[in-house]
């Protein structure tokens, strides 16, 4: 059984079907990709998988346990972390504070009024380690809002990673990045994949085809194709199209 399995997810908003019948599974220690044209239901799918929305039908299993309909905080505590496409860092906090707040040990101290985080060298050190891993060493004290865009993207992923998840969901991590920054990001993801299973939603196909072990194509709220990148490339239309030329 795969680490993460979703079966027959169905979701509608009012009279609009957004997810028709999604069945997906993500293996441990792999990078799984989800791609699809705009408005195909990728982001809704992501939100259902990570607990922001409850599916109308279907089940989601993680690590053999049913997590369908659990609120985000409970899903997070099971070991799933996510990043956001629209970046919403804690802008009034420093880079380090952003990370520290995401550490599970700090989360468990959330109600401890007498605790002082700035004196909690354990948390500070672990936060600094995560920052260093994201290539943000030395930027601990900078306000999140003052970081350049590429570093904010890295911090965004760092926050998700700081929660020490078993599975990391990344929502369009390359959006807004130029070619160079995308390359750096690909390197970063290549690095962190050693310790965590990753699911990426992306519209940048080349990025996904290079990185992912397995890709699901979503359109009309359904999985219209899936397989390893090489399998997908075998499709003659894919080869005839722009993607075939560039991928």
């Amino acid at each position: 059984m795969a680490l993460f399995e979703a079966s027959h997810l169905h979701k509608r908003f009012a009279d609009q079907v957004v997810l028709e019948d999604i069945t997906l599974s993500f293996e441990e220690n792999q990078i799984s990709g989800i791609m699809g044209p705009n408005g195909a239901g990728k982001t809704t799918c992501f939100n259902v998988l990570t607990g922001r929305f409850k599916p109308d039908r279907g089940r989601v299993h993680f690590d053999g346990r049913d997590i369908t309909g659990l609120p985000p905080r409970k899903i997070a505590r099971r070991g799933i972390a996510r990043s956001f496409q629209m970046m919403n860092l804690f802008d009034e906090y420093t880079a380090l504070e952003n990370i520290v707040l995401a550490l599970p040990e700090v989360r468990d101290k959330g109600f401890r009024v007498l605790h002082d985080l700035s004196n909690d060298s354990g948390a500070q050190d672990r936060g600094a380690q995560v920052l260093a891993r994201m290539g943000l060493g030395g930027r601990e004290g900078a306000l999140a809002s003052d970081l350049p865009y590429g570093q904010r993207r890295a911090l965004e992923i760092g926050i998700a990673l700081a929660a020490e998840p078993r599975m990391l969901f990344l929502d369009e991590p390359t959006s807004g990045l130029g070619t160079d920054a995308t390359a750096i990001l690909a390197e970063l993801i290549g690095e962190i994949r050693k310790s965590v299973s990753i699911v990426i939603i992306e519209h940048d196909m080349r990025f996904l085809f290079d990185l992912a072990d397995h890709i699901s194509v979503i359109h009309w709220g359904q999985v219209i194709a899936q397989g390893a990148p090489d399998q997908l490339r075998e499709n003659e239309w894919v080869r005839a199209s722009n993607l075939g030329a560039l991928a």
Binding site: N88, E97, L117
Partner: protein, 346 residues
């Protein structure tokens, strides 16, 4: 090593601006007459500072605009009087009654509104406040209706061995000051604890906080209830100061003034914003009020101007002034939570 940790733990509890505020407020009754003001003003300032700090806990720290907090001030005042009349004329018990009743009612309101934000939150607080207002004004048997609850006593401070009378404004002031010290130290600790970091993070981005595994609803509920409890304490002190509990403090106007004070002072960026705001408000009332009847109108216009041009309020101006003068070495303006630089250095 040991001494170092002692020092840092002292720093975790007390800061220079805090000690400065203790010094100023602690000595205020001694010089307030000399600068041409009067003792009762000090009392009002002290009570309103506590009230404004409670409002700012919601508005400034958690980003929840409670437009009806005056109702809880009134509930505290009534509860203080009612406990005193019907249970026992003991200060501690009556204070406890006031805080407990406001916390319970606040907690109930919070049950209804903790999952809301922005406009709906603001309107729900207005609606709840108006409902409390109507109940207080119509339930004459209990609240005295439009006449209010008269003859609330300034009960003596029972310290076990001895009792201190607080009949005079001077001595009541010191009771309020003691409450202020406790509240300020407690709130300072609270907003700098992990709990405070979480509520401020909720203000910045609540869905991300949920995805980090925090129970956002519970944090919001707790902070609203706590804010109401502190407001209840302010209400009880107010009942003693006024020697009565009156319906008018529950009106929307007073809730509005609390918001005005907090924002003008700079509650969005500084812990001390509400304190600055209260001082500014009362000075404006007494100084402007001496010249013009319409001072509250002008005060409201200042508020509108602040929202438009300087939502960071007085604290923000102070910060900008310091940055301009180059006295502050830090290259960037510091955020409120990590660095309450606004009210005077570190």
């Amino acid at each position: 090593m040991n001494q170092n940790s002692y020092l840092s733990s002292f720093r975790a509890w007390f800061t220079a601006p805090m000690l400065l505020s203790f010094l100023v407020f602690g000595t205020m009754p001694l010089w307030i007459d000399a600068v041409g003001l009067y003792q009762y003003l000090g009392l009002e300032v002290m009570i309103w500072v506590i009230f404004a700090l409670a409002v700012n806990l919601l508005l400034g720290y958690t980003g929840l605009p409670s437009f009806g907090h005056g109702a809880f001030l009134g509930i505290g005042a009534y509860a203080f009087g009612l406990t005193q009349f019907n249970v026992a004329a003991n200060l501690w018990l009556s204070l406890f009654g006031a805080v407990a009743v406001t916390a319970i009612l606040g907690g109930l309101v919070a049950l209804l509104i903790s999952h809301r934000r922005g406009i709906y939150f603001a309107l729900m607080t207005i609606a709840c406040a108006q409902i409390f207002y109507f109940i207080a004004s119509k339930w004459t048997d209990v609240t005295g209706g439009e006449d209010g609850l008269l003859n609330i006593a300034r009960l003596p401070v029972d310290l076990g061995l001895t009792e201190i009378s607080i009949r005079s404004n001077f001595s009541l002031y010191y009771l309020c000051f003691a409450a202020y010290v406790i509240i300020v130290v407690g709130l300072w600790r609270l907003v700098h604890s992990p709990f405070g970091k979480v509520i401020s993070a909720i203000k910045q981005n609540d869905s991300r906080v949920a995805f980090l595994g925090y129970n956002v609803w519970l944090y919001k509920w707790l902070i609203f209830t706590l804010s109401c409890a502190i407001t209840g304490l302010a209400g009880a002190l107010f009942a003693m100061a006024q020697e009565g509990a009156y319906i008018n403090i529950m009106s929307l106007q007073w809730s509005g003034i609390a918001i005005l004070i907090v924002l003008i002072g700079g509650g969005f960026i500084s812990f001390w914003g509400p304190v600055l705001g209260v001082i500014f408000y009362f000075l404006a009332r007494d100084i402007l009020g001496a010249y013009t009847e319409t001072w509250l109108l002008w005060f409201g216009l200042i508020f509108v101007g602040m929202v438009m041009f300087k939502p960071e309020g007085l604290a923000g101006m102070w910060r900008d002034g310091r940055t301009l003068l180059g006295r502050k070495p830090a290259p960037q303006p510091e955020p409120s939570v990590t660095e309450p630089s606004a009210a005077g250095g570190d």
